[in-house]
């Protein structure tokens, strides 16, 4: 049972895992000296620029910092609805 629960990931993560994940995230921001507010205004500016070219889902957009041992990356996940000036099937309107 224990094995099955673990297999299907139903078991809650241990508090150590939660601690590690929270710590990693907070350190990414600390190390990059970027506060969540700065990241938020960066996201807004980026979306404004992209909106000139594409129709995007602003609400579904996620901008995060991610790090591995060596480097920090800015990762943006921006759902595209369409291209400005064209309909869904790509026909100029």
């Amino acid at each position: 049972m224990d094995f099955l629960e673990r297999l299907f990931g139903r078991r809650k993560p241990t508090s150590k895992i939660i601690a590690k994940e929270r710590l990693r995230l907070v350190l990414v921001h600390d190390r990059a000296s970027i506060s969540p507010q700065v990241l938020d205004s960066l996201k807004e500016d980026m979306l404004d620029v992209i909106s000139n070219y594409m129709e995007i889902d602003r609400r579904g957009t996620e901008v995060t910092l991610n790090s591995d041992k060596e480097s920090v990356a800015l990762i943006a996940n921006i759902p595209v609805i369409g291209v400005v000036g064209r309909n869904k099937r790509g026909v100029r309107i």
Partner: protein
């Protein structure tokens, strides 16, 4: 020429003063000539942890101002002839000491002592700058908590900026049973996150409270697990190779833990 080592952490209450007292006493018990400097002006505590609070006449600020000679301010330990304490001032102006003065002081002391161990205050302000100014090596103390590890990360960055690269980590107050349950970060987690080398691990141990109550460092208590951990750390500071045994092991977890800290029972 001696070596100047600063004990730091960023966050308060993780065991800097206890660590300073224990490794200094540990080194002294090995016959080394050691001096401790308490740089926590206004919140001095190394004197009480060492049980030397009744012997203070002059302090660090008196020395910095030139109100007394260095020799007059050094307090001899009760137990070891070769161990001294330069206490912090408790009531004087915090800004009385400058990094340049600390550098000069460390230069003088390392001519006479094999180890100069500096107890750094919590925080990253003036006290931290003073404590690190004359240091050649840094030890970072942390506990397995998010807040302490986060502050340790910041301190490691500041040490690198202050040209004190490659600090060594001491993980304090680890609870093996909680680690086993997955409710406490283990040593590998912390090394992985902080990316510095490990000097030693000190278990949570009630004997620390008892020894602090008495003003007798636990490193001298042969039955104390924390004391054994500090003895190992002291030996590693002198360059001796004292192995760390991995905590991750299938057979006999508790006996492994005891072995890890070098306790034979």
């Amino acid at each position: 020429m001696g070596e100047v080592i600063v004990v730091t952490s960023g966050k308060g209450g993780v065991g800097k003063t206890t660590t300073t007292a224990n490794i200094s006493t540990g080194l002294a018990s090995m016959g080394k000539k050691v001096v401790m400097i308490d740089t926590d002006i206004g919140l001095r505590n190394l004197d009480v942890v060492m049980g030397l609070e009744n012997r203070i006449v002059y302090d660090l600020v008196d020395v910095a101002r030139g109100d007394c000679r260095l020799r007059q301010a050094l307090i001899k330990d009760k137990r070891f002839e070769n161990l001294c304490l330069l206490p912090a001032a408790q009531t004087k102006d915090k800004t009385a000491v400058q990094p340049e003065q600390m550098r000069e002081l460390c230069e003088k002391l390392k001519k006479e002592f094999e180890y100069v161990i500096i107890d750094c205050p919590a925080g990253i302000e003036m006290g931290f700058k003073n404590a690190t100014a004359g240091a050649e090596r840094a030890l970072v103390v942390t506990t397995p908590e998010i807040s302490a590890v986060r502050d340790a990360d910041r301190i490691i960055g500041l040490l690198e900026a202050a040209e004190l690269p490659n600090p060594l980590l001491i993980v304090n107050r680890i609870r093996p049973t909680m680690v086993k349950k997955g409710d406490m970060m283990d040593i590998d987690d912390m090394i992985d996150i902080l990316a510095i080398d490990l000097l030693g691990v000190v278990p949570e141990d009630e004997s620390i409270v008892v020894s602090t109550n008495k003003g007798e460092p636990a490193v001298l208590d042969m039955k104390s697990m924390a004391g054994q951990a500090y003895r190992n750390i002291s030996r590693r500071i002198t360059g001796e190779d004292v192995p760390l045994i991995s905590m991750e092991s299938e057979d006999g977890f508790l006996s492994k833990i005891k072995k890890f800290f070098g306790i034979q029972r």
